[in-house]
Symmetry: C2
Subunit: 355 residues, 2 copies
């Protein structure tokens, strides 16, 4: 941008609305191109969707970006339309993200188990040759296949629903004409305070994360001291059992999951403004790994409560659960290494954005 | 030592034998002071030995130092006497180290379990409120108490044995007169090549350790790829089951356990020469933590093979096993941080030792 000719007054004089409309039109177009493939192939059996996997990725990508822009630059849009659109986009996101999520989780957990149980000449995992490993693998695969099938059925039902048609109509409208308010007529510089607010929200949340602890390898609590417990101290009846630990883990992960949302919002805000991402895509990737490991650990903890499993199976699930929580710690550590390189760029870069 | 007056020719002219005899006499004296307390109190019940715990520590401390000096400076001693002495000292070391080892292991494992299962208002472990935690704790305590009782019985039997009396006589001799060879009549500088060899042995072993991997937090194989497997690839019958993983873990830990022996020998060699330890005590401490976590993990793996335990108990043991292996990784990481500060000091410092 620095070598752009100084005689480009048209681009400079663009309004906030024009910039937003350009971004949203492109994203809505991507949405509409991907949707028919996702709908058309969803009728096939789960797991046999190589083409629609890419289409679903494209669709989710567009859904996230439109939702992010509508949130961050809300003042430029008709409030009721923007709010309704975000609700519907979130619904589709939750609907479509589940099946690939279960597929990735199955690959992650069977991969981890195979690696832990592997005994090759140049090394062996800590479950090498353990009798419980194949049983635990089969159990996890069975439960995740069931969950994936259910998610697929839900997608099938909803893809023919009036709700999806209404959302498609909404995106068609967006691809042609974005419902803007008078605020959108302001110069493009009016976008900057909103983008800056998105960066500031991430900066605040990022600084409040216990990444200083995570930045010290093995210096954190590891598996020992997690987030604020939901349980009353000294009062943990056996019946509530494992749910307490699950709640503690969820409370421990929550600020990191929240940080990921804020990273995405900041990324898309910079995208709208045509500014470089400044390492936010990498942070997003690390937090995605955090989320997947956290979800995988929860799946293993649930599987370990399956009635009538053998002790050997349960033991292996305990090892795998701890291994996934170690992955969570590892992602936090990686975040702690990246954050100091990203955070300074979140302070006031928006003032210098290209118009 | 650098500000010692230049007019101290007597100290400078000391022979190698005089320096060795001074060191060994002091250590043998410590041995003989501690032994009666250990023998006297060993008759009381196991676990009720606060006074003899200190005495046993003192005794083990002296045993290790005498053994180390006899090994490193072997050329100065009558070979047969030195060899026999080392064998007997190693016997006593193995005998006496077991009971306190089991006591520390029980404290480590119940402490880890309590921490993992804790649910206090400011945080909860990943096993908080888990129904299997109290059962797993009771199982580990029971098995370690049994092992400790057996070790105590063995100590009781051997402390009245002719073998111990003979060793005590040997140490009494050492406290008065060290059986030296003609080589011991050489100037004290003759000790330096031997001490240098002990440092070089550590340096070589240390550089061969995979600490570069360990120095990268979470960058290592974690629980996944351990030392060279003892099992044939693709041929792991269920009957051999967990033993394969145990063998792989043992193979993975072996070079670190060997490094600890070399650290101790180097420490004691420098002590004999009156030289500063140069961080070797800290390395020794880190490798002691490595050893204790490794032993504790093996105990948990064994406990998990106890017949008729519940799946909840087995699951908790799986988590605790992984947690202890994480401690092993953490100790290696700490070693990797310390080593670069210690290793350069192992190259040629002995030439500059005070005589």
């Amino acid at each position: 941008m620095t070598d752009a000719p100084t005689t480009a007054p048209v681009a400079r004089a663009a309004t906030a609305g024009e910039v937003l409309a350009g971004y949203l039109t492109a994203q809505a177009g991507a949405f509409l191109r991907a949707l028919p493939q996702v709908v058309g192939e969803a009728g096939s059996r789960p797991g046999s969707l190589p083409a629609s996997a890419q289409a679903a990725d494209d669709l989710l990508r567009a859904v996230r970006r439109v939702g992010g822009a509508l949130h961050t630059f809300a003042a430029a849009f008709d409030p009721q339309w923007a709010q309704e659109s975000r609700t519907e986009l979130r619904w589709l996101l939750n609907l479509l993200a589940q099946e690939p999520g279960y597929r990735r989780r199955a690959a992650r957990l069977t991969g981890a188990l195979d690696s832990l149980a592997d005994a090759s000449p140049d090394g062996a995992g800590m479950l090498a040759g353990h009798a419980g490993a194949p049983k635990a693998r089969a159990l996890l695969e069975r439960q995740l296949t069931l969950a994936r099938t259910r998610a697929h059925t839900a997608v099938l039902q909803e893809l023919r629903s009036a709700r999806l048609h209404a959302l498609a109509d909404r995106m068609t409208l967006l691809a042609g004409e974005v419902p803007l308010t008078a605020a959108a007529a302001e110069p493009v510089a009016a976008l900057l305070p909103r983008a800056a607010a998105a960066l500031a929200a991430l900066l605040g949340a990022g600084e409040r994360l216990p990444w200083q602890r995570a930045a010290q390898a093995y210096g954190g609590a590891g598996l020992h001291r997690l987030g604020a417990a939901q349980a009353e101290p000294g009062e943990v009846p056996a019946a509530r059992a494992a749910a307490d630990a699950d709640a503690a883990l969820a409370a421990d992960d929550a600020p990191w999951l929240r940080a990921r949302i804020l990273v995405k919002r900041a990324r898309y805000a910079l995208e709208v403004c045509g500014a470089p991402g400044g390492g936010l895509a990498e942070l997003d990737g690390v937090l995605a790994r955090h989320r997947e490991a956290s979800d995988a650990a929860a799946t293993v903890a649930t599987a370990a409560r399956t009635p009538r499993i053998t002790p050997a199976t349960a033991y292996v699930l305990g090892v795998v659960h701890a291994d996934q929580r170690l992955e969570v710690e590892s992602a936090r550590y990686a975040f702690g290494r990246q954050w100091p390189g990203v955070a300074p760029g979140l302070v006031g870069p928006v003032a210098a954005l290209p118009g």
